[in-house]
Symmetry: C3
Subunit: 153 residues, 3 copies
Amino acid sequence: MERVALSDLMAEYGMALDEDRLEEWVELFEEECDYRVVTRENTEQGLPNVLMWCDNKNMLRDRVESYRQVNEYNPHYDRHVIGPLRLLAEKDSVATFEAAYSLFQTDLEGNSRLFSVGRYRVEARVAGGVAKLKSVLVVADTGAIPSLLATPI
Amino acid sequence: MERVALSDLMAEYGMALDEDRLEEWVELFEEECDYRVVTRENTEQGLPNVLMWCDNKNMLRDRVESYRQVNEYNPHYDRHVIGPLRLLAEKDSVATFEAAYSLFQTDLEGNSRLFSVGRYRVEARVAGGVAKLKSVLVVADTGAIPSLLATPI
Amino acid sequence: MERVALSDLMAEYGMALDEDRLEEWVELFEEECDYRVVTRENTEQGLPNVLMWCDNKNMLRDRVESYRQVNEYNPHYDRHVIGPLRLLAEKDSVATFEAAYSLFQTDLEGNSRLFSVGRYRVEARVAGGVAKLKSVLVVADTGAIPSLLATPI
């Protein structure tokens, strides 16, 4: 059962972003949460650079709200294709797992291109068959994040 | 059990297309079925354009048969990589779900490229551990579908 | 349970390669095992060309060891995104299945590109909830494998 809940969570994570349901994406997180985007290169060199960082749910809400006010400047469609989950630990109803992602962007002319690949490292709390995000660390292999990384990965 | 049946169905859906087993792909559908390809842009603008539409299984059979007669003109390999399922509803043994897809094409020189990304919206009937397709709506983010969309997505 | 073990196995397969844990990747195989990379074009024409072939675990160990000695010449990050499993057979605790893969590479400047797409055909032995690889046949749609195929696919 738990695996299904975790897989559902990641399916909804990607779909919510791809369908521009950003407010619903925020609701996948617990109030006390952490969302962070780093590049793999920085991580492996022990560098502290963080491309996006929200360390509680209100920061995620603010982020989405400000995105809503400027989202006309780089209109595009996102599409996440997420790989199978790799479970790392389970403790006190919190599961830690990783999953590879590929993220494609399509412009208004309908041209699609590879935008970013990397992996998620996720802590999720499962209760009553439903999983909520405690933390998401996005480690992007792709270093060049254009457009000020307007939308979450 | 049902989730496994749905996941198996989509794995076979992609593999049947990729291995040019189009007749077996047709057999994944029920007699009364609907297969449709639209672009996301048209859908979001409420436009009625449909790139491919078969509203029963005989139309799918005809489509594959005519493809067999002309398939020499754009020889290529397809490869679908499909993401996790997002279950939307279950009612009377019919499950409605979505899944993101990435579709790559490889030409005869062995060069691969991104061909299309988007999502499937699927209704499937599960009976005895086996799932059959009632309807598949392909919503393609990628707008430019070259080559007259000879093969299904 | 078995499906989860097989899915975990493939998640770890991709992640071990992507995180450069090649020695751990080798440990996913049984002592008597077979790992082979072929192109789809050769396979469909009945040609015997094999791009990489290790027919026991010691050969895999050697392969990884020699890679460790030369890996400075083409530094890059790999990222596998693997699709859902298609179960073909189960017999005497050995499962045979296929899965589509997309493999992306990122260079040291952080530029990502599609490197290879294709499918795995896998035989895995499941015992005590854990699956081990008996054989992996990589059938690559992408024909041009640059860089002498230094890392496994």
